[in-house]
């Protein structure tokens, strides 16, 4: 009996990513989808770092409590958990560059079999900027990339070599997509997990490097 492939929703992906976060870890969640990973972490499980100067992001504030000067890197209003600390941008990126942040979970456009990450610019597209992406990708101890498995035009995003401008080389240790969880091995991607009904063949057909 075969099942239709049921790709993960973004919520499923965020829930799956949350499982990769050890208790007591220091984690930076990138702007967009990665920010949602925080919704699936038990209270007090990990310490969320915001590169604009906070360690200890809490949930969104209750209505009426929002403070325009307490925001995350996506400029959303947030709260601070007990035990949080604020600091300036130089100290914040010293933490990142110095390897003190255990894990970054970042959105991605392409990830190569070597673990190269491209997530800041589309060739020929409007340049939005780099922000903290390069510092996070090259500085954090581990990097997990989250993205849809293929583009809207069905182009591969897990590739042999990135043709988008790189954010950092050889940094991604795990890729979480709507089809599953994949580990760059150098010459391909090891299949760690697959979404319900997704077969290796289904995933391989949508991946630009061998699944190993």
């Amino acid at each position: 009996m075969t099942h239709e492939p049921t790709p993960w929703s973004t919520a499923d992906m965020a829930r799956r990513a949350a499982r990769e976060i050890p208790a007591g870890a220091i984690v930076n969640l990138g702007i967009g989808l990665p920010t949602q990973v925080g919704d699936y972490l038990p209270d007090g499980h990990a310490w969320l770092h915001s590169e604009n100067g906070l360690l200890g992001i809490g949930p969104f504030p209750y209505e009426g409590d929002e403070d325009p000067n307490l925001i995350n890197a996506g400029k959303q209003t947030i709260t601070a958990v007990p035990g949080a600390a604020t600091f300036d941008s130089a100290a914040s990126f010293a933490m990142i560059r110095g390897g003190h942040v255990d894990l970054a979970i970042l959105g991605a456009m392409q990830v190569s079999a070597a673990g190269d990450l491209a997530n800041w610019a589309v060739p020929g597209g409007k340049i939005m900027g780099i922000g903290g992406a390069m510092d996070l990708a090259s500085g954090c101890r581990h990097v997990i990339a989250m993205m849809q498995h293929v583009t809207k035009k069905n182009e591969h995003k897990l590739v042999r070599a990135c043709d988008y401008p790189l954010t950092a080389a050889r940094v991604v240790s795990l890729v979480i997509t709507d089809l599953g969880v994949f580990q760059p091995t150098g010459d391909g991607f090891r299949v760690v997990d697959l979404a319900p009904g997704v077969t290796r063949d289904h995933a391989q057909a949508r991946t630009g490097a061998p699944l190993v």
Partner: protein, 237 residues
């Protein structure tokens, strides 16, 4: 003979901005619209200087903050880490009116920290193997490759503080701190706009975020817009 650290409190934004000149490089605090020196930003336009270089993480957003300078046509160059949905900057970049230099955010902060700390250049792993290293020296230390980045000083820093005493010892509020302290260290002339002005001794020495050694003029601005970019909330239970 009077040193640089007597009588810093000035009565108005205009007085704080009197030393400005055309062509200067401005380090402007803030992350998005949070922690912006709002009154000083507005005052610069009234001051009538132009041909400015801005160093700022975002250079405004939603038509606010430094977007006012972009719209006023007084900016020649922007050094920032992220443009995002700052359409005022996208437009003027596309037309060639403004040159934009995009720098990784941590490198931006560290280059100013270096300028303030008397370090002319340093090596960093950020940007190695990317377009950021183009035209720069790279070098291996202990088997890893790094790129050489230069200090980034400013002529003027515009800083937003929560509390200042009359010597310029500063405290910041939550994530409004961001680039403000490091920019204050990196400019020849640091102008501070504070929500609260207090007497000497009102801030315990151990509670000062940034020493007044880095501050040259202070203007008390009690009211701020403090615009929201994304107002995310949850329902009360």
């Amino acid at each position: 003979m009077t040193g640089r650290h007597a009588d810093k409190v000035v009565a108005s934004v205009a007085e704080a901005l009197a030393p400005l000149r055309d062509g200067m490089t401005f380090l402007v605090g803030g992350f998005g619209l949070s922690g912006n020196p709002e009154a000083l930003i507005r005052g610069v336009i009234e001051r009538g200087v132009r041909d400015l270089t801005i160093v700022s993480n975002n250079a405004g957003n939603l038509g606010k903050g430094l977007a006012l300078w972009l719209k006023a046509g007084i900016v020649r160059k922007v050094i920032c880490s992220y443009i995002g949905n700052n359409e005022d900057l996208h437009t003027r970049r596309a037309s060639g009116e403004i040159a934009v230099e995009i720098t990784p955010q941590g490198t931006l902060a560290e280059r100013m920290r270096a300028a303030g700390a008397g370090v002319p250049a340093f090596y960093t792993p950020t940007g190695v193997g990317t377009v950021v290293e183009h035209g720069k020296e790279t070098r291996e230390f202990d088997g890893r490759r790094y790129v050489l980045e230069r200090a980034l000083p400013g002529d003027v820093a515009l800083v937003r503080a929560h509390t200042a005493d009359r010597f310029g010892n500063l405290r910041f509020w939550r994530t409004a701190r961001n680039f403000n302290p490091v920019m204050a260290t990196a400019a020849k002339l640091t102008l501070v706009e504070c929500d609260h002005l207090v007497e000497l001794g009102a801030i315990d020495p151990d509670n000062v975020h940034l020493s007044g050694i880095h501050v040259h003029r202070i203007v008390h601005v009690p009211e701020h817009e403090n615009a929201f970019e994304y107002r995310n909330v949850r329902k009360r239970p």
